[in-house]
Symmetry: C2
Subunit: 107 residues, 2 copies
DNA sequence: TTGACATGCAACCAAATGGTTGCATATTGA
DNA sequence: TCAATATGCAACCATTTGGTTGCATGTCAA
């Protein structure tokens, strides 16, 4: 569990991988082929990124016939959050976040 | 704000930098010299890491005379959290986290 | 003023990273 | 069966990264 921590952070460090997570957050169960669309890199590169994300447990996958369906797993993200934001900070920081959001929407 | 996002994730990707954040979380206002203690690398390497963290806005610093005091800034971490964990997942995932903690403490 | 202490800056190097190309394997449908 | 489709695996390469050494700058105290 602790040994995997580094994998999670390394996985999140790349912009392409974060974009893949974003897409899986809005819609789960996408195949490798589908995830390739909209990324200007080779299929092999995307597959590498997905393998990275799976190794970090940020993505889980199910093989169905010749396709592989991918899903986002939010648990490791929550663990990061808990690590550096204490119980007291949590409310303050979330309030600040909501304030910033509100200001953004006013513009 | 969006342009800095990559810096935050890259900054968190290194184990030494995360350890520095951990130390600043338990006690703020440490100098470069103090932060060097307990890390088996040169002062220059630690300074590089701190510069990295400052560039990502995860650490803020104040210069006082010949020393420089460092503090943790929790805001960027909160932003990561908000990005991938929706309102609904939030309660479930935190409940799961608390359950895991409780099980750990029982052992 | 001057030496000691705390930090800043730059060049350099080995290893990891992100991407490519090429080929192999496995499943589906006609 | 056999061609098309979806994915897997491996070798290779340019760039980034994390660390080093060496030297410069700035501040405190005697």
């Amino acid at each position: 569990m602790v040994a995997d921590e580094d994998k999670v952070f390394k996985a999140l460090a790349d912009v392409s991988r974060r974009q893949l997570l974003d897409r899986l957050r809005t819609r789960g169960g996408l195949t490798l082929g589908e995830l390739c669309q909209g990324h200007d890199m080779t299929r092999q590169a995307v597959a590498k990124h997905l393998a990275f994300l799976e190794a970090a447990n940020l993505v889980v996958s199910v093989k169905q016939g010749r396709v592989k369906l991918h899903y986002l797993n939010p648990v490791p993200i929550n663990d990061i959050y808990m690590r550096w934001i204490g119980k007291f900070e949590r409310k303050q920081v979330q309030a600040l976040f909501n304030l910033k959001q509100a200001l953004k929407e006013e513009e």
